[in-house]
């Protein structure tokens, strides 16, 4: 199941007429309901919204968590953009490289040996639903520190086994509740939820929280490809 995406690219004449003719605001702003015009509106206002999001983000202040009793096991829906990759945990390796002094590869057992960080947070999907989930894993900041990033690093890319890609701002990646998790609701992470290793964080929308992560890439430059959904038109920062 992918994100809701209604004929994004095929804008028939009939649909165009419907979009422009009758929708609430289009009565006044003829032609503004189209996807390409909406993109322009987003590009115009997103810098302002992103600035506000950056101001709201206190990079080292944890977001209040929920009690274990608040967990909503049935609310976390499964979203993938394409297919569910099967990864052998025995041979899995996480690569951390890019503009770093100590590029490294970690086996799953090595990550699991690190002290377990657990959090109960609200996972919020761009579609509008949310779920309170317990995640267990390691702090991303601890993994990044191991790789000794160069001073110029500003962005973190997550590359996944299914071809999904994402990029984050460094302060959000270094947030103490941004984790690489291998556990969900006190159970080992299921394949559908991103096993063996995925991103989990209370401060970003669900599509920023990549599943099946195999490579973390640190860079000083945001590449033209910012993320699978961002490249389709979703906002890049996606802060909560």
């Amino acid at each position: 199941m992918s994100f809701y995406q209604s004929s994004h690219h095929s804008l028939s004449r009939r649909r165009l007429l419907r979009l422009t003719g009758l929708s609430g605001a289009s009565l006044l702003l003829n032609g503004c309901g189209t996807t390409s015009f909406s993109d322009k509106i987003g590009q115009l206002v997103e810098p302002l919204n992103q600035r506000v999001e950056e101001l709201l983000l206190r990079p080292q202040a944890p977001v209040p968590e929920f009690p274990l009793s608040a967990i909503e096991p049935d609310k976390l829906l499964i979203n993938t953009f394409d297919f569910t990759p099967q990864i052998d945990p025995a041979t899995f390796q996480l690569t951390i490289d890019g503009e770093v002094q100590n590029p490294l590869q970690l086996k799953l057992t090595e990550i699991q040996k690190m002290p377990l960080v657990s959090m109960v947070i609200r996972h919020v999907c761009v579609e509008g639903w949310s779920a309170i989930v317990q995640w267990g894993g390691v702090r991303l900041q601890d993994l990044i520190v191991l790789a000794k990033p160069k001073a110029a690093v500003r962005y973190v890319y997550f590359l996944s086994a299914d071809g999904y890609y994402e990029s984050w701002d460094l302060p959000s990646a270094m947030h103490p509740q941004t984790l690489m998790v291998h556990q969900k609701n006190s159970q080992p992470l299921s394949v559908e939820n991103g096993a063996p290793l995925r991103v989990a964080s209370p401060i970003k929308l669900g599509y920023k929280q990549s599943k099946w992560v195999t490579r973390i890439f640190l860079t000083s430059q945001l590449l033209p490809q910012k993320g699978y959904w961002e490249d389709q038109g979703y906002e890049w920062f996606g802060g909560l």
Binding site: Y4, S6, S23, S26, G33, G42, V126, E235, L240
Partner: protein, 200 residues
């Protein structure tokens, strides 16, 4: 309001400050965009019934798809809320709230009043005063869902996520219903002259 409403030439001339007309226009347009794009966002995962729930028809939605709806929603939110803030400062500075909003005397008229024209006027003031807390609720619930982590104190006020979504959504039918009643009451009080006075 002593003239005979049937003969509109005897009606008083309604005048609105240019500033108020502008605020009314911007409020109307930004609310239209907020509702159209909001219904687009609603359709991505309906508040009632989730993905299997009833969806709004395309012609009521703005933006073409979810990302486009969000583009509009998070652009028009500035227009809508800053406009409302400016209005709030304006009615505070000019003390307009003392003269233009519903008063204790209006409420008394609604309870025991015998003059139908005075009663309609009291209803008109009551209705357009009552929409203001609804608009503020729309902003508060919207912010609580837009930034639930950083504004956790706000999100926490509304209980569950479903309550939050329901409260945010319910402002849409209330605003639509308000627009109809508000227009009908204005027509009843001052015919098209009164409608024209707020627009042109």
């Amino acid at each position: 309001m002593t003239s005979n409403p049937v003969n509109s030439s005897q009606l008083p001339i309604f005048r609105q400050a240019v500033f108020v007309k502008m605020i009314h226009w911007i409020n109307l347009i930004s609310l239209g965009i907020m509702i159209g794009s909001g219904l687009q966002i609603y359709n991505a995962n309906p508040v009632f019934g989730g993905r299997a729930g009833w969806h709004f028809p395309d012609f009521l939605t703005l933006g073409g798809w979810l990302a486009g709806g969000r583009d509009w929603h998070f652009a028009a939110m500035w227009l809508f809320s800053v406009n409302l803030l400016i209005y709030g400062i304006y009615i505070g500075l000019t003390r307009r709230w003392q003269r233009r909003f519903v008063t204790a005397s209006d409420l008394q008229v609604l309870k025991v009043g015998q003059n139908p024209k005075r009663k309609t006027y009291a209803w008109h003031r009551f209705v357009y005063t009552a929409i203001i807390p609804v608009l503020l609720l729309a902003i508060a619930t919207g912010l609580a869902m837009y930034k639930p982590a950083h504004l956790h104190w706000l999100s926490g006020l509304f209980g569950s996520w479903q309550t939050l979504r329901t409260l945010h959504f319910i402002t849409v039918p209330i605003v639509v219903l308000f627009a109809v009643i508000h227009t009908l009451l204005a027509l009843k009080i001052g015919h098209w002259r009164m409608i024209r006075s707020i627009f042109f």
